[in-house]
């Protein structure tokens, strides 16, 4: 079990009103699954993603990631967990401007105290996503799909337990979307755990399991036959 979430609640206070963004969520994800988390805006899917990504802490409930109880950790410990166990892929890529692809990929290792040849690892990660010939290119010299591949390489760098993608194809055209989704499928086939937060059913089609949220609760959770 790579993720185990029990009775997770997250409340926000806006003025005098309390919003229950997550209202008691239970969710378990096995190693090697490829899960789509879906829901309309306001369903709580972003809040769940933030907590799963250790960017936010629940108001109550427990979260166990790769054998560690993450709920209750302080900011510094969470930073370390994000560095070691989670690889993020964002909708708008979030590459550092004016910085070559290789240096962008290397970034997480700046904050890690893992030994080894950092450059060689970054090179391998870029090769893995098929950008061996674009290492010295800056983001403004890359297409949208290539940028997202660089971002995926960066996410893979620390060999994380969980690949967490937030609308990874939101800024891409149909053809590039398929390329990126095939990359995620390949990574899943290699045994990686992938969680994709999306509101597009076409993206969810690629996954082995679809979890739908509505009003801070899980509305449905079913295994599906993925598109290949």
């Amino acid at each position: 079990m790579i993720i185990r979430v029990t009775n997770l609640r997250r409340e926000f206070t806006v003025g005098i009103e309390t919003i229950h963004a997550l209202d008691g969520v239970d969710l378990s994800i096995e190693r090697g699954e490829m899960v789509a988390i879906m829901g309309s805006s306001g369903s709580g899917k972003s809040t769940l993603m933030n907590i799963l990504g250790c960017l936010d802490r629940p108001t109550s409930g427990t979260y166990e990631l790769d054998g560690k109880f993450v709920s209750g950790m302080d900011e510094k410990e969470l930073a370390r967990v994000r560095n070691e166990k989670i690889g993020f892929v964002f909708q708008s890529f979030e590459l550092l401007p004016r910085t070559p692809a290789l240096a962008n990929v290397e970034l997480p290792l700046l904050y890690a105290d893992q030994p080894g040849d950092r450059r060689a690892r970054a090179v391998r990660a870029l090769e893995r996503v098929g950008l061996a010939d674009r290492m010295d290119h800056r983001p403004n010299q890359l297409s949208g799909g290539q940028k997202q591949r660089v971002a995926v390489a960066r996410a893979l760098l620390t060999d994380p337990a969980l690949l967490l993608a937030d609308e990874p194809t939101g800024n891409l055209d149909t053809k590039t979307t398929e390329e990126i989704m095939r990359l995620f499928v390949d990574l899943h086939d290699e045994g990686r755990t992938v969680v994709i937060v999306t509101h597009e059913p076409e993206i969810a089609e690629w996954c082995t399991r679809v979890v739908r949220l509505r009003d801070g609760l899980i509305e449905s959770d079913r295994s599906v036959e993925p598109r290949r």
Binding site: N50, G53, L55, D56, E75, K76, A79, R80, R82, N83, E84, F88, F90, E94, L96, R98, L107, P108, L110, Y111, A112, D113, R154, T158
Partner: protein, 413 residues
């Protein structure tokens, strides 16, 4: 977090890359620090040069010289001493010579203004100085032609004179004026020697000027009875200045029969007092310069803070990303703090280079401060203070960056 050297190195590289990416902006930001450090290091360089020059001036003047002046003591509300009690007398001179063992020698000095005539050439208002033969040694001014004054000149109050080489041109004397006759205040004087004009040092700005020396006793006879003289003394060695002062004071007080409560009716000055006074002045100027640097660093620091706040705001998403991939708040803090420090250090170093250039310009002219230089303590201080400015004024923006919520930061437009 205990940052590894590698992390710090990478972060400094990052800071340099940021500064290079915004060259004009970074330059304008550090301009305040640059100008502040440049101007203050120039002032300190000039002051250092001036100090060296003045001290060597005093040295050549003679660190073992002392002066005794008649002096009206400062006694509020009480009667002033009559002048005849204040002024130095010839018999007191004898007493000083006999009773002050720390002294090598003394010479009285007195002067008056007179019209000097040579042949048809008449020059008014020339300074005529009366001295003892010992004066040549005390002032280190030997004759270059003829002979110096001797004891017999003094004892017999002979009408003999020594002139400087400027007098030869001004009075139209022959190239070797020894043996020529000049008229001083209507009296005939035989020129017996020539002294080189003193053109070195602080007094060198004077135009060409005739100087005439006559024996002290001769000068006294040509002066009004109210005129006064002062005494120059040469102490046996510079370390004896304190003892010499005490001796003179004791001898003078006992000769003048001053009671224990009476103030001194004379004044003793030593060269080292002037050195001390100059040192105080230099310290004062240094303190003012330090004040200026403090103000300019404050102004420069505010510029740094401003630009760092802009930078944090522009790079909010980057900060969000860095946090998402594992940067702790202290890592972000260090990143922005180092950027501010590198920026202000750069300003300080450029300022030092500019200051060094200006200090070099000061040494170029012939009358310039030959030894103007930025002392190493000032270099160290400038570097330390500009780094400190970066830390102090970079702290708040860095704190702001470190505290950003990664979710909010990644959503920032």
């Amino acid at each position: 977090m205990n940052p590894s050297p590698r992390f710090i190195f990478q972060t400094i590289l990052l800071a340099i890359r940021q500064i290079r990416a915004h060259k004009l902006r970074s330059f304008l930001t550090t301009l305040g620090i640059m100008i502040g450090v440049a101007s203050v290091s120039t002032v300190i360089a000039a002051l250092t040069g001036l100090k060296d020059q003045v001290l060597s001036e005093f040295e050549s003047f003679g660190a073992s010289k002392m002066f005794i002046f008649p002096d009206q003591p400062d006694r509020a509300g009480q009667n002033r001493y009559p002048w005849r009690e204040i002024k130095l007398k010839e018999r007191e001179l004898e007493g000083l010579v006999e009773n002050c063992p720390s002294f090598e020698q003394f010479s009285p000095n007195t002067d008056f203004r007179a019209t000097v005539i040579h042949g048809r050439k008449e020059v008014p208002n020339i300074n005529v100085v009366g001295i003892w033969p010992t004066w040549h040694d005390i002032e280190n001014r030997p004759v270059i032609m003829g002979r110096p004054f001797v004891e017999a000149d003094e004892i017999d109050a002979k009408p003999v004179a020594i002139v400087n080489d400027d007098a030869i041109t001004e009075l139209e004397l022959p190239p070797d004026p020894v043996g020529s006759i000049i008229m001083v205040k209507g009296r005939r004087f035989l020129i017996v020697g020539v002294i080189e004009t003193n053109r070195t040092g602080m007094m060198s700005f004077q135009p060409e000027q005739t100087e005439i020396w006559v024996p002290f006793s001769t000068a006294r006879r040509m002066q009004s009875p109210w005129s006064f003289f002062y005494v120059t003394g040469q102490v046996k060695s510079p370390d004896l200045v304190d003892e010499a002062t005490a001796e003179v004071r004791y001898v003078m007080r006992s000769m003048r029969q001053l009671g224990p409560d009476d103030p001194d009716t004379f004044r003793i000055e030593a060269i080292d007092q002037y050195i001390e006074q100059f040192g105080k002045l230099a310290t004062g100027i240094t303190a003012i310069a330090a004040g200026i640097v403090a103000i300019s660093l404050l102004v420069g620091g505010i510029g740094i803070m401003n630009i760092m706040l802009v930078s944090v705001s522009e790079r909010t998403r980057e900060i969000g990303l860095r946090k998402a991939v594992g940067a702790t708040p202290s890592a972000i803090m260090l990143q922005f703090l180092l950027e501010a420090v590198v920026l202000s250090l750069l300003g300080g170093l450029i300022g030092l280079v500019l200051g060094q250039g200006l200090a070099f310009l000061l040494t170029i002219p012939e009358q310039g401060l030959q030894s103007a230089r930025i002392p190493s303590w000032a270099v160290a201080l400038a570097v330390a203070f500009s780094a400190g400015t970066g830390v102090i004024f970079g702290f708040f923006p860095a704190m702001k960056a470190a505290r950003l919520d990664p979710i909010e930061a990644l959503r920032h437009e």
